[in-house]
Symmetry: C2
Subunit: 423 residues, 2 copies
């Protein structure tokens, strides 16, 4: 279902900046045993959970608007689903994944509560941004329009129980950024009439594929090993995901969190995930990718078919600027632009690769989520870091609590010194 | 109007990963003379051009929908303006800046031509993506709903003349990515009733400020020199712009093209511009920025006031998870989160800096555009590259023309070999 072609990451295609077969073999010898003995992580069980209660809840609601109130892993997966898969006619998805004063007020004021479901998501049950937004939304909409998804402990669960708000669970052994196939992502999907069962079926198929014993046939292993080896052996610490479809842009943004937060753990480990959009960013970033420092790996994400495909009509003939476009479908043009970019990167010795999916649908998206999650945990093993924690965000949180005067957090030691470097 | 504080990029704030005063002094000695003798570039004149014809055209139209058909520099600036500044009630902006089959067909089918102005923008007059989309739009809407902005030569100008489509000009000496303050950005702005005159006034004020002779007081020089020196002397080739306002996200995306395409010119020069959004990406990228490789410079972009600012209502008391939030405004919370992030980066020796603007308005946005354009051209001087060309996109274009069978471009030499590395 998902095909991964990494030919253009290899020396045989791009020369000395690519990997040799022996580099891959050596890595298989070094870490293969560990990778093959990885436990079944919490997220691996999600595709096998029964979505019955989610579907039942959604069938009763059919709201016009679904507002996901959450941040980071509590929003990115739902947003990816809503962007990639088409909601039922007229239904709309919004993420309130910030405490932006303007955006939050504007959106909440614009939606009619009686047409809206507010889905509040935080695993800890205490996330600053999420609770602030929920409290503001509760001022504007009755409690009966709310549903929460949260962990087993924390304020939000107690609050929801008290107010009789329906509660869905994030399993304790599933971290936020691996939670898209839990109610975190599935509940909004179901509320939009996205085909949740096929999404899960796609993830289960990917699970089968990702268990392949031969590493050379295992897409999750290769999607970890190729960028890892390019980082370590060829100094390519920048990993760009470049979908050629607007509908997959937010899927790449979901991956951007997964890759950054799971692997960015030490001064010597932590590739930078970058999101680019084809063909748009050919006119923004490709100059740099082609001629700037050769420190990037570009991963194209390409659907083989599009769900609609207009054809350029004939406008006038004998004009070299239009003649070659007339009668071409948009997908032919986009594909030619992508291949042109691929060719130029390859000719310049810039490693790149392609994930292809047959079409943007629930099955492919489920498979993509699962495969990239598995690739990320394997990459954690290769880099020698724990892909499931995020200690590097704690200090900033504590400092913010201090500024906000939260009980138990000492006030900031002193007012910040007047900056001598301000113009 | 724009304030730039780079204290937290200096060794006195963050230790050895920051710059010393003497690093900056040395750079001023090395390049100051050249920088101070830079010519007045084409884009420097744009703030002084009379917008009379643009305003007149817009007053006659007042469309509900403005569709910008353009790619790269022909769309990013207009999109930045439309996102940051509020269009008149009911007016909507759309960019068709891709040849995405699904997105293009969906949008064109959804808009009523009689309520819509299609603004077609390409300096060369021949851009593949732009002409394809224009031809499709012309199939759905009468020619009277179109207006074009283009250079003095090329197909689009001839075509518009023939069909009596109004034409606005991109001056020959202004490149696409420096064209936001030409009709490329100003015409859609005016059609949305954005205050174009104040936008230009803000740019003129910035022009005055950017001419300051003392480099220590010149924000454009410092916005070039600080990231350049951090790249060269402290190995920080990754430059992150992180606005704390959704409305400024597309301004950072505009800058992302400007910085990448202007400076990404050789294997030894070309910082990677990265776009992040506060506070959202604190839950996506800050783990990596705080604990991963110390190879980044984070530039916060912060408005001092927001145009609306809801207050968290009281929900219940005695709950530590909410008590500290109740009665706080969203801007206070967002500011605390930003300062918390700033503090943690600083404590970890990660260089960062802040651009502040009083508020998101036309004056500040005009100043921001101009200052960042000037900073980019100065950075070109420091890096020793031509900031105005983009030779690295030509090979990919030629290859795409070949795939599309454009006259004068030889067909691809042979079908691509079957990849031996595909799973």
């Amino acid at each position: 279902m998902i095909s991964f072609d990494y030919f253009r990451s290899m020396a045989s295609a791009i020369g000395s900046q690519g990997l040799e077969d022996k580099d891959l073999e050596r890595e298989i010898l070094r870490t293969g045993q560990t990778v093959w003995n990885l436990p079944r992580f919490g997220f691996c069980e999600l595709p096998y959970a029964d979505p019955g209660r989610i579907l039942h809840f959604a069938r009763e609601q059919k709201p016009r608007n679904v507002v996901q109130i959450g941040i980071g892993g509590s929003a990115l997966g739902a947003t990816a689903i809503a962007s990639a898969l088409r909601p039922r006619e007229g239904a709309r998805y919004f993420a309130l994944d910030n405490v932006d004063p303007e955006e939050t007020a504007d959106l909440l004021d614009q939606l009619r509560p009686e047409e809206t479901i507010y889905h509040v998501v935080t695993k800890s049950g205490e996330t600053t941004e999420t609770l602030s937004t929920m409290m503001l939304a509760l001022e504007r909409a009755p409690v009966s329009r709310f549903v929460v998804t949260t962990g087993s402990k924390g304020f939000l669960r107690r609050f929801a129980q008290e107010r009789k708000i329906p509660i869905f669970d994030i399993p304790e052994n599933v971290g936020g950024r691996f939670s898209v196939l839990s109610p975190v992502g599935l509940l909004p999907a179901a509320l939009l009439d996205v085909d949740v069962e096929t999404l899960l079926a796609g993830a289960r198929e990917a699970d089968e594929t990702c268990r392949k014993i031969d590493p050379h046939r295992n897409p999750a292993f290769l999607l970890a090993a190729i960028p890892y080896l390019l980082d370590r052996l060829r100094s390519k610490p920048i990993h760009v995901m470049m979908p050629y479809a607007r509908a997959l842009r937010d899927t790449a943004d979901w991956w951007r969190q997964l890759w950054a937060e799971s692997l960015g753990k030490s001064p010597s480990a932590g590739p930078l995930p970058v999101l680019a959009l084809g063909a748009t960013d050919q006119h923004s970033q490709i100059q740099l990718y082609n001629e700037g420092p050769n420190d990037k790996w570009i991963l194209f994400l390409v659907p083989e078919r599009y769900r609609s495909d207009p054809v350029v009509p004939s406008l006038l003939s004998g004009e070299p600027a239009c003649d070659y476009l007339q009668g071409k479908s948009f997908s032919e043009i986009l594909r030619a632009l992508q291949r042109g970019t691929e060719d130029s990167l390859t000719a310049n010795g810039r490693p790149n690769a392609t994930i292809s999916i047959p079409e943007i649908d629930a099955r492919a998206l489920g498979a993509l989520f699962y495969t990239l999650e598995m690739a990320t945990t394997i990459a954690g093993t290769l880099y020698g870091v724990d892909p499931f924690d995020q200690p590097g965000v704690e200090a900033g949180k504590r400092a913010a609590f201090s500024y906000l005067g939260r009980a138990g957090y000492p006030p900031p030691s002193s007012p910040p010194a007047e900056s001598p470097y301000r113009v």
